[in-house]
């Protein structure tokens, strides 16, 4: 016994193992443990959304680019995580001014040995940052240069997303308005940022070859697997149970139950909204539009998920689904080629969901009344200020950034490379080597 004790002491000296404070099972500590476990599980759930995005994006695009989409969804997380650890987290949550944080780079705010909460919190935040980053991947798919995309993912995770996060979640100016803006789980912080960045990217890149004909007609470019796209939507929906209820970052906060309900109903109503709209507008219930509308409903309910009633969440989701269908055809018509509908899903419904908080918020759920429940217009005004300012910041800086990348290394692959497919031209591989890939879908 003595020998064992001596060995363990020696080992702990050699490896400088900081023995975490002995756990005392007080009610306070137990409650804190519940928060730890809940926040980390939620973070892991949000992580699976990366797989969801990868599947949605590859399903809605052609087989010749499938390997490239996998690479982008993997690599934007990896570069993004390192960038968020080094810089982004400090800008977002570090003490600083009203616009960005200036302390805590390299996760130095975390406290080794005693309270490890900052680690759990970072873990929850990094998967959010990665979600914002990976939204863009679908919109710029099938034509962006891989190297340019890597620079983009570092830039958005280190700077663009954290600045918006600081404004709304990190004690910045939007959180300090006389009526603070409400964006519970990030319709604006995460989804609009990703969506507006996606819009900037598609504008600088231009449409894919073959999308627009000389006679001004728009040609649909069909994706290679609705099955994978549907799997992606289910994975995203599943991950959203970490995204929304997890945003309490407290398992001891019982509102996780109502948040889970509004999330579910928002998504369901989004699907129903896009289903019915496509059915009426295009004579058939469109599969891909219904899948997209489901995500639109999820995006829209994200801001108000803790502040609205289940009935309101259905209305918000329904409108989101309808908006999605009209938005997709609108962007097609103005020659903004967004292969997976990322702008319609994340930017447009991010805006709608954020504004909806100002309309549908109810005291019984989140402590604040919106316009429809006698709370006056002040909350709606704050939401509006937030939406506009985040649009201007994200869209303008991303437009400039993509243009600079375009001028320095070129943002888009050559015409031949694009037609050949990015798998072969960028990665010298094929996603489906055993299968014939149709050249006739070009």
């Amino acid at each position: 016994m003595k020998l064992k004790a001596i060995i363990s002491i020696i080992l702990s000296i050699i490896f400088s193992i900081s023995l975490v404070l002995a756990y005392e099972a007080t009610p306070e500590n137990n409650a804190k443990s519940i928060d730890f476990v809940w926040t980390l599980i939620a973070a892991f759930l949000v992580f699976i959304m990366q797989a969801g995005f990868a599947m949605v994006e590859t399903g809605f695009t052609r087989a010749k680019n499938a390997g490239n989409i996998m690479m982008k969804n993997l690599i934007d997380f990896c570069f993004g995580a390192v960038a968020f650890w080094a810089i982004g987290y400090a800008i977002m949550f570090g003490a600083g001014n009203l616009f960005f944080g200036t302390e805590g780079f390299f996760l130095s705010s975390a406290n080794n040995g005693s309270d490890l909460w900052q680690y759990a919190y970072w873990m929850f935040q990094v998967v959010f940052a990665a979600t914002a980053a990976t939204i863009v991947s679908g919109a710029v798919a099938e034509r962006i240069k891989f190297s340019g995309y890597i620079f983009y993912s570092i830039f958005i995770s280190a700077l663009v997303y954290p600045v918006v996060g600081h404004w709304i979640w990190g004690g910045g100016w939007l959180a300090k308005l006389s009526t603070p803006m409400i964006d519970f789980a990030g319709s604006t912080v995460v989804h609009s940022v990703g969506g507006w960045a996606a819009l900037a990217g598609t504008i600088i890149l231009g449409p894919r070859i073959g999308k627009y004909m000389n006679n001004n007609s728009v040609k649909p470019i069909r994706g290679h697997s609705l099955t994978l796209a549907a799997l992606g939507v289910f994975l995203l929906w599943f991950g959203w149970y970490g995204f929304n209820p997890g945003s309490t970052v407290a398992g001891t906060n019982w509102s996780i139950a109502t948040i889970a309900v509004t999330t579910t109903l928002g998504a369901s109503a989004g699907a129903i909204g896009s289903l019915l709209t496509s059915w009426i507008r295009y004579k058939k219930p469109d599969v891909s539009l219904t899948l997209g509308g489901t995500l639109g409903g999820l995006v829209a309910i994200t801001a108000g998920t803790a502040n609205v009633s289940p009935l309101s969440s259905i209305i918000i989701g329904l409108i989101a689904g309808i908006l999605y269908v009209f938005s997709v055809s609108f962007f097609d018509r103005i020659k903004i080629d967004d292969p997976v509908g990322a702008v319609s899903c994340h930017a447009i419904n991010g805006v709608w969901g954020t504004l909806a908080v100002g309309l549908f918020a109810q005291k019984e759920f989140g402590g604040i009344n919106g316009l429809f429940f006698g709370g006056g217009i002040s909350q709606l005004v704050s939401q509006f200020i937030g939406v506009i300012s985040v649009f201007i910041w994200t869209f303008v800086i991303m437009l400039i950034f993509f243009k600079i990348i375009d001028l320095i290394i070129g943002l888009r692959v050559s015409r031949e490379e694009e037609l050949k497919g990015l798998d072969l031209s960028e990665h010298n591989t094929e996603a489906y080597a055993d299968f014939p890939i149709s050249a006739t879908n070009n």
Binding site: E416, L419, G421, N428, P436, I437, A439, N442
Partner: protein, 125 residues
């Protein structure tokens, strides 16, 4: 009547199609195929290993044309498919014995159709 078979690079298909359309050749059958020419493919590096790729992805375009369309069709395919590098493909021109349109059972140049000189003569008669 000729039967034209062209083997071209898959990524050049849109260009070939466009060039053919400009010559008013709209009828074609397109297949994804694999094949090799004199070079027997080329080596590529995959995960650090050198692999001799023998059969390369190509696209086969088959077009039945009336005689007055033969030259313009061949020229259009060359215009669309040529990069000047090895692997641009080949065009084969075969005599065509007959052509029957299934719906009407009409045969010959009428069945191939198009605004060809031969067809105009027939219509005049």
């Amino acid at each position: 009547m000729k039967y034209i078979i062209a083997i071209v690079r898959p990524e050049k298909l849109p260009d070939v199609k466009k060039a053919l359309w400009n010559e008013k050749v709209y009828r074609m059958t397109v297949t994804d195929v694999r094949g090799a020419g004199e070079q027997k493919g080329y080596p590529i590096e995959f995960r650090g290993l050198i692999e001799e790729v023998n059969l390369l992805r190509k696209v086969k375009i088959e077009i039945a044309v009336n005689d007055s369309f033969v030259d313009s069709t061949i020229k259009a395919i060359i215009k669309g498919a040529r990069t000047g590098n090895i692997g641009d493909g080949k065009i084969f021109v075969l005599p065509l014995e007959d052509c029957i349109r299934i719906r009407t059972e009409k045969s010959g140049i009428e069945a191939i159709g198009g605004e060809s000189l031969e067809l105009k003569k027939i219509i005049k008669k």
